[in-house]
C-alpha cells in the first residue's frame, strides 16, 4: 500500500531522473501498463508508450532542459506539482518549429494519479505554451483590429 508521501517522492524522482537526467528506464518502471495520458503531445498516443515517447521527444527538442520543482502537493492518490522548465531552444520548441537559439522558462502545473501499489496510472498538465512562445518570439502577430 502506497502513501501520498511515497507518491510525492516518486513524482520528484520521475522528474529528476527521467526529464532532467534522461533515464527513460525509470519511467518504464514507474508508469502502469494501463497508464492514461490526458495531455498527450500533438499527434502522440495517450498510453504508456506515448508518454515515454513524449519524454524522449522533450529531451531531444531541448537537450539542456531542466525542471525546477516549486512545490508538490499530495493527497489521497493524487500528486500536484508546480514547476518551471528552463532550457535553450536549439532544436525547435516543438517539432516543426524553427530553432530560435533563445532560452526560455515555462511555468507548469501537473497532476499525477497513483494506484494502491504506487504505480503512476494517469497524468494531465497545463503549460504556459503561449508565454513561452512569446519569450521565443514565435507568436503570430494579432490581426490588426
Amino acid at each position: 500500500m502506497t502513501t501520498p508521501e511515497h507518491n510525492a517522492a516518486t513524482v520528484r524522482e520521475l522528474i529528476q531522473r527521467v526529464l532532467n537526467e534522461g533515464d527513460i528506464g525509470f519511467a518504464e518502471k514507474t508508469l502502469s501498463e494501463s497508464y492514461v495520458e490526458r495531455s498527450p503531445m500533438p499527434g502522440g498516443t495517450a498510453d504508456k508508450a506515448g508518454a515515454i515517447a513524449m519524454f524522449t521527444m522533450m529531451r531531444e527538442q531541448t537537450p539542456d532542459m531542466r525542471i525546477q520543482v516549486g512545490e508538490v502537493i499530495a493527497s489521497g492518490n493524487k500528486v500536484a506539482v508546480r514547476s518551471t522548465m528552463t532550457g535553450t531552444d536549439t532544436m525547435g520548441f516543438m517539432p516543426g518549429m524553427p530553432p530560435t537559439g533563445k532560452s526560455f522558462a515555462m511555468g507548469a502545473i501537473d497532476v499525477f494519479t497513483f494506484d494502491d501499489a504506487g504505480m503512476n496510472t494517469e497524468h494531465y498538465g497545463v503549460y504556459d505554451i503561449m508565454g513561452t512562445m512569446g519569450q521565443l518570439g514565435l507568436l503570430p502577430a494579432p490581426p490588426s483590429a
Partner: protein
C-alpha cells in the same frame, strides 16, 4: 470539518460565484490583496479587483462562459483545482485582437490556492491552456499533427 475540507468547499463556492458574477461572495472568499501568480496577471490590477476584472473580461468575450470543477483535492493550506471552461466567442477577445466569430471554446486550467487560517485565499498559482483556446478561436495555428 477539517481545514482542508473547508478550503475545498470555499474554492467550490468561489467558482460558483464567478459563474454567477456574485462578486460579494468572491470578495468574501479571497483576500483583497491576494497575490495571483498567473501568466497575464500583470495585465490587470493587483489583488481581487484584478481577478474580478479578468472574469468580467471573459464574460464580455464569451457571454455564455461556464466553468466547472473537474477535480479538486487539498493538503495542508493548499487546494488544487482542475477547472474546465466553455463558452462561445460572441464578444471578441480584445487583448488578443480576436474579433467575435461564434466559435466555441473548451479549455481548462489548474489552480493551486493557498488559504489563511480562516480559509480565505491569500495566494494562487494557475496555468490555463490559452494556446488551446487561441487555436479554437482561430487565432493560433494548431500544432502539427492536431
Amino acid at each position: 470539518m477539517s481545514d482542508v475540507a473547508r478550503n475545498i468547499e470555499l474554492v467550490e463556492r468561489l467558482e460558483r460565484a464567478y459563474n454567477e458574477r456574485d462578486y460579494d461572495t468572491v470578495r468574501a472568499c479571497v483576500a483583497a490583496d491576494f497575490v495571483a501568480n498567473t501568466p497575464g496577471a500583470d495585465q490587470v490590477p493587483a489583488g481581487i479587483e484584478g481577478a474580478i476584472a479578468a472574469n468580467e473580461g471573459a464574460v464580455s468575450s464569451f457571454s455564455d462562459k461556464r466553468s466547472e470543477i473537474l477535480e479538486i483535492f487539498g493538503d495542508g493550506d493548499r487546494v488544487v483545482s482542475h477547472v474546465r471552461m466553455t463558452g462561445t466567442n460572441d464578444g471578441g477577445i480584445a487583448w488578443a485582437g480576436v474579433p467575435a466569430n461564434g466559435k466555441s471554446i473548451d479549455t481548462d486550467w489548474i489552480q493551486i490556492s493557498r488559504h489563511g487560517d480562516d480559509g480565505v485565499i491569500q495566494e494562487t498559482w494557475a496555468q490555463m491552456d490559452l494556446a488551446k483556446m487561441m487555436g479554437q478561436v482561430g487565432a493560433m495555428p494548431a500544432p502539427e499533427g492536431m
